[in-house]
C-alpha cells in the first residue's frame, strides 16, 4: 500500500538502464564462493587464537620444548658433573638456578629434566593414541559381537587401578626410561579407546558414510578418510590431557623410589632429591623442578580446555 506513496520507489519503467551490466554466462564463476571457506581446522584455530590462556599455554610449551632441546647446549655446565666445593650455591649470575646437593648446576639439570619428562609424556600419549585408535576404531566400526567382546575387555581393564599396575610392573622390570613408558601405557590406552569407539559409533551412521559405502568404497578407506579425520578433535583433546598425567605419573614414581635412576635428571627425581634440602633453606633445588612440573601441567590443562572448546563445532558462536 505504501509502495505507491514512496517517492523513492522505482517501478519497472523508471529504473535507469545504466544500473545494470551484462555479465557473461559463466557457470564456474557463478559457483565460486565469495569468501574463503573455513575448514574445520582453520575455524578451530581461529577460535583457539582468541583464548588467551590456551595461547599462553602454547607459548610456554613451545619455549619449554626449545629449551629442552637447546638449554643443555647453551649452558657451560654439564648436568651430571659433581663439584662438591660448590654445594648449594644460591641462584647467581654464574648458576642461574643455583646448584644442588652435589654441586650440579640446577639450570642445566632442569632442561635435561624437561627432555626426559616431556619425552615420557609425549611417548606415552603417542602409544596410547595408536593403540586406542586401532582398538576403538575396530570396536566401534565393526559393532555387534566384536564390539561386545572388545568392550568387555576394556571394562575389565578399566577397573584395574592404573598406578598400582604401573608400580607392580616397575618393581619387577626395574625402573628405566623405557620400562616407565611401557608401564604407563599398559592400561593407559583404555580411556583413549573408549573415546575413539564412542566417536566412531556416532559418525558411522551419518549419511556421508552411507553415501561413500554405496559408491563402493572399501572399508579401510572409509575408516581412514571418512571416520578418522572427524574423530580427531576429541582424540587431540584427550592427548593434551594424557601428556600431563604421564608427566605427573613419572614424577610420582620418582617420588616413591621407582623413578629413573639418579644421575639422570627428570623433574620428579630432582624434586625428590631436594625434599630434605628445602627444610634447610635451600629452596631453589626444589623450586625450579616443582615450578616446571606445575607449570607444564598447567599449560597442558589450559591448552586442553581451550582445544576442547575450539574443536567442538557445537560451541561455535
Amino acid at each position: 500500500m505504501k509502495r505507491n506513496q514512496n517517492p523513492q520507489h522505482y517501478n519497472q519503467k523508471n529504473v535507469p538502464d545504466e544500473w545494470f551490466t551484462w555479465r557473461k554466462k559463466d557457470i564456474r564463476e557463478q559457483e565460486l564462493v565469495a569468501r574463503p571457506s573455513l575448514s574445520y581446522w582453520k575455524d578451530a584455530w581461529r577460535r583457539l587464537r582468541k583464548n588467551f590462556l590456551a595461547m599462553s599455554g602454547i607459548v610456554f610449551l613451545s619455549l619449554l620444548v626449545l629449551m629442552a632441546i637447546f638449554g643443555p647446549i647453551l649452558s657451560p655446565y654439564d648436568a651430571n658433573t659433581q663439584v662438591l666445593s660448590e654445594q648449594y650455591q644460591p641462584p647467581s649470575a654464574e648458576h642461574w638456578f643455583g646448584t644442588d646437593n652435589a654441586g650440579r648446576d640446577v639450570f642445566t639439570r632442569t632442561w635435561y629434566g624437561a627432555r626426559i619428562s616431556l619425552f615420557v609424556g609425549f611417548m606415552a600419549a603417542l602409544i596410547d593414541v595408536t593403540i586406542g585408535i586401532i582398538w576403538g576404531g575396530i570396536s566401534g566400526y565393526k559393532g555387534g559381537r566384536t564390539d561386545n567382546v572388545m568392550m568387555r575387555i576394556i571394562e575389565i581393564l578399566y577397573g584395574i587401578p592404573y598406578l598400582l599396575v604401573v608400580i607392580l610392573l616397575l618393581v619387577v622390570l626395574g625402573p628405566s626410561l623405557s620400562t616407565i613408558i611401557i608401564a604407563l601405557t599398559v592400561t593407559g590406552w583404555v580411556g583413549m579407546a573408549r573415546i575413539v569407539r564412542g566417536q566412531v559409533m556416532q559418525i558411522k551412521n551419518y549419511e556421508y558414510v552411507l553415501a561413500s559405502k554405496s559408491f563402493g568404497t572399501k572399508t579401510p578407506r572409509i575408516i581412514r578418510r571418512g571416520l578418522l579425520p572427524n574423530t580427531m578433535g576429541p582424540i587431540i583433546v584427550q592427548m593434551t590431557l594424557t601428556v600431563p598425567s604421564a608427566i605427573f605419573a613419572e614424577a610420582f614414581l620418582s617420588f616413591i623410589g621407582l623413578g629413573i635412576s639418579s644421575p639422570n635428571a627428570s623433574w620428579g627425581v630432582m624434586a625428590n632429591d631436594s625434599l630434605g634440602a628445602i627444610l634447610s633453606g635451600n629452596w631453589w633445588t626444589l623450586f625450579f623442578p616443582a615450578f616446571f612440573i606445575s607449570f607444564t601441567m598447567f599449560a597442558f590443562n589450559v591448552l586442553g580446555d581451550g582445544l576442547q572448546d575450539a574443536l567442538d563445532p557445537k560451541l561455535r558462536k
Partner: protein, 310 residues
C-alpha cells in the same frame, strides 16, 4: 536392575581375578627368587617364606595355593620385618589411611561442590574466574609439591601447624589439605559445568517463575541433577586419593598403609608389595562397583539394561 548388578559383579570378579593373577605372574617372574635378596640372612624367615609360598611345588599348585591364600585374606609374612605378617601391617595401617582418606573425600566433595556452585552462579564474574583459577592450579600442582610447600610455609616458617605425624586434628590439617586440593579442583570444575547446563533448563525457569527463592532452586532442583556427574567420577577420585596418600603419608610420616607400601617398594619387600597391591586393588574395585550401583539407583534416566554405547 538385578541384571545390571549381576553384570557389574561379574566384571568386578574378573577384574579382581586378573589383578591377582597378574600379581602372581609378576612375583614368579622376578629374576631369581624374590626371597633371596641380599640382607635376608634370617634362616627362620627364609623357611617360613618357602613354606608359605610353597616354592618347592610345581607352578600350577603354587598358583592355586596362592589363590586360596588370597581368598582367605592371608597375605603371608614380611621379608624385612621377621615378626610381622602383611596382615599385621595392613591391620595397623588401614584404619589410619581410611581416616585420612575419608576426611579428604568429605573435605574435597563439600568444598568442591560449593566452589563449583559459586562459580556457576556468578558465571563469567570475578568469583567464577577466581574459583576456576584455584581449580586449574589445584589440578596442575602435584600433591607432593603442594605438601612440601605447605610444610615449608605453614609449619616451618609460620608454625601454625605441626610438621608431621598423625595425632590430633591439628596434625590432620596439612595432609588433608595437600591431598584434597586436587580432587576438590576436579569436582569444582565438574559441578560448575553441569550447573551451568542445568540452570538453563526449562524446569529451572519454571521454578523461578513459581517464585521459589534462589536458595531453594539451587538446593532442591538444580543441585540434584548437577551432582550426577560427580558421582560417576567418584571412583577415579578415590583411586587418585589412594595413590596420592602413598606420597602424602610418606612426606608427613603418617603410619598408614601407604607409608608401609612405599617402604616395602624401597626395600623390595615382595610379599608386602604383593599383599598391599591386592588389598588396595580389591578395595578400589569394590568401591568402583558400589559407585556403579549407586549411580544406577540414583539416576532414574539410566536404563540399566540398555546396550553400551552412547
Amino acid at each position: 536392575m538385578l541384571k545390571y548388578i549381576l553384570k557389574k559383579l561379574l566384571i568386578m570378579v574378573l577384574t579382581l581375578w586378573i589383578i591377582i593373577t597378574l600379581t602372581f605372574v609378576l612375583m614368579v617372574s622376578v629374576p631369581g627368587s624374590p626371597f633371596n635378596s641380599e640382607g635376608n640372612s634370617n634362616e627362620i624367615v627364609q623357611q617360613n617364606l618357602e613354606r608359605h609360598y610353597n616354592l618347592d611345588k610345581p607352578i600350577h599348585v603354587q598358583y592355586l595355593l596362592y589363590l586360596k591364600s588370597v581368598a582367605t585374606l592371608d597375605f603371608g609374612p614380611s621379608i624385612k620385618q621377621p615378626n610381622q605378617t602383611v596382615n599385621d601391617l595392613l591391620g595397623r595401617g588401614f584404619p589410619i589411611s581410611a581416616e585420612l582418606g575419608l576426611i579428604t573425600i568429605i573435605v574435597a566433595v563439600i568444598s568442591g561442590i560449593i566452589l563449583g556452585i559459586l562459580a556457576a552462579l556468578r558465571h563469567n564474574g570475578v568469583i567464577d574466574y577466581l574459583a576456576m583459577g584455584i581449580a586449574v592450579l589445584g589440578i596442575s600442582i602435584p600433591n607432593f609439591i603442594l605438601a612440601t610447600l605447605l610444610i615449608q610455609k605453614l609449619a616451618v616458617d609460620w608454625e601454625f601447624f605441626p610438621v608431621a605425624t598423625w595425632k590430633s586434628p591439628m596434625h590432620m590439617v596439612l595432609p588433608v589439605l595437600a591431598l584434597a586440593t586436587g580432587p576438590m579442583a576436579i569436582i569444582a570444575r565438574l559441578t560448575r559445568s553441569t550447573m551451568l547446563e542445568v540452570l538453563t533448563q526449562d524446569y529451572i525457569k519454571m521454578a523461578r517463575a513459581k517464585g521459589l527463592t534462589p536458595w531453594k532452586i539451587i538446593v532442591k532442583h538444580a543441585l540434584r541433577n548437577a551432582l550426577m556427574p560427580v558421582i560417576t567420577i567418584m571412583g577415579t577420585l578415590l583411586a587418585g586419593i589412594m595413590t596420592g596418600s602413598f606420597v602424602i603419608e610418606q612426606i608427613f610420616a603418617i603410619p598408614g598403609m601407604g607409608k608401609y607400601f612405599v617402604e616395602s617398594i624401597n626395600h623390595r619387600d615382595f610379599p608386602v608389595i604383593m599383599g598391599t597391591t591386592v588389598f588396595y586393588s580389591a578395595f578400589l574395585i569394590v568401591m568402583l562397583f558400589l559407585v556403579d550401583i549407586a549411580y544406577g539407583i540414583l539416576d532414574p534416566r539410566i536404563k540399566v539394561t540398555k546396550k553400551e554405547g552412547e
